[in-house]
């Protein structure tokens, strides 16, 4: 059975997400955003994504930090699949090598 809190979280997530999908069409189709509001909306996804992975940047495990740098380099020039594979491989390898 599904836990009621889990169900509530999923239902609210889905509702909020759907609102963002129709919201732009409904509210913004006949309007232009000011430059500041535009800058905030444009920056929002990147700010959130980088905040979520921020802990990886301040890990005290040198193997993980080195693997993160390799992954960062890979992400600047490769597509999703090879970058993920390089990230996983370098982290797994460096953790084994550096203990």
């Amino acid at each position: 059975m599904i836990d009621p809190t889990v169900l509530l979280t999923i239902v609210l997530m889905a509702s909020v997400t759907y609102l963002t999908r129709i919201g732009g069409y409904l509210v913004l189709r006949n309007r232009t955003l000011g430059p500041r509001a535009m800058a905030v909306v444009e920056a929002a996804p990147g700010c959130v994504l980088i905040s979520v992975i921020a802990p990886s940047f301040v890990t005290n495990n040198p193997a993980d930090l080195a693997a993160l740098l390799i992954t960062l380099l890979a992400a600047t020039r490769l597509s999703m699949l090879p970058t993920v594979l390089i990230g996983i491989a370098s982290s797994g390898l460096l953790r084994t090598l550096l203990g």
Partner: protein
């Protein structure tokens, strides 16, 4: 690109089914990127205590990968409802802009078709359909926006996303602690590639740097998952303040 232009020539005479198939064909290569991401998401979700039923319920009703990765990363048992919903909204707020950009191309469609169709709007379907609509407009094909093409791209990615996240959730427990094999870097890798896709230059990325620094500091010194909200909000504040000299 050449195959695109060739296939565009006969779109005017194609029926709904032909346009739908053109959409499926265009999004098929994307599945190579979607499937592994979905597997990792499902596996990670299972390790965080979500069941094989919870996962398709979430990925099938929400259908927005970025927010699901963020939610799983913050997932606890029981989940922190307000935090996860708030972060979901922040990650998906870009849909507001995407919908606004698509709106002028949807004017020939009734709302009863637009509302269900917008459920399928994700980064990939949006980008492909908008590009397709601009190409068709340039070639004088009307209407520029092809609804069946869009639905084809969207459904293809939707089915793959829900199926592979579910598969990941089913296989997750058997894989043991995926972090031990280096899977702890799967999420940062995915997020870094997504960020690279949003990169438009250092100037526009300054708020990201603010977010990174604030989130890292809050993570180190404040217990709990507040670092995400703190980092995100300070980045948005920086975007607001820096916009003046943009």
């Amino acid at each position: 690109m050449t195959s695109d232009t060739v296939s565009l020539d006969d779109t005017a005479t194609r029926g709904w089914r032909g346009e739908f198939r053109r959409g499926v064909a265009a999004s098929a290569p994307m599945l190579l990127g979607v499937a592994p991401c979905a597997l990792v998401l499902g596996a990670q979700a299972a390790q965080k205590g979500m069941s094989v039923l919870d996962v398709p319920l979430m990925t099938g009703s929400n259908f927005a990968g970025g927010s699901e990765f963020a939610a799983i990363q913050l997932w606890t048992s029981p989940p922190h409802v307000a935090l996860i919903v708030f972060i979901t909204f922040l990650v998906n707020s870009r849909h507001l802009l995407m919908g606004a950009a698509l709106a002028p191309f949807l004017q020939h469609l009734p709302k009863r078709k637009v509302f269900p169709a917008l459920f399928l709007m994700c980064d990939e379907t949006w980008a492909m359909s908008l590009a397709d609509a601009r190409r068709r407009a340039a070639r004088g094909i009307g209407p520029a926006f092809s609804l069946p093409y869009y639905v084809g791209t969207g459904l293809c990615i939707y089915v793959a996303w829900v199926a592979f996240t579910t598969l990941g959730a089913a296989l997750g427990p058997a894989m043991g602690n995926v972090e031990a094999y280096g899977f702890n870097l799967a999420f940062p890798a995915i997020f870094l590639v997504l960020l690279r896709g949003m990169w438009t230059g250092f100037r526009a990325a300054r708020p990201w740097l603010v977010s990174l620094v604030v989130a890292a500091l809050v993570y180190l010194f404040v217990p709990g998952a507040w670092y995400v909200a703190a980092g995100a909000l300070s980045g948005l504040a920086a975007a607001w303040l820096l916009a003046r000299d943009a």
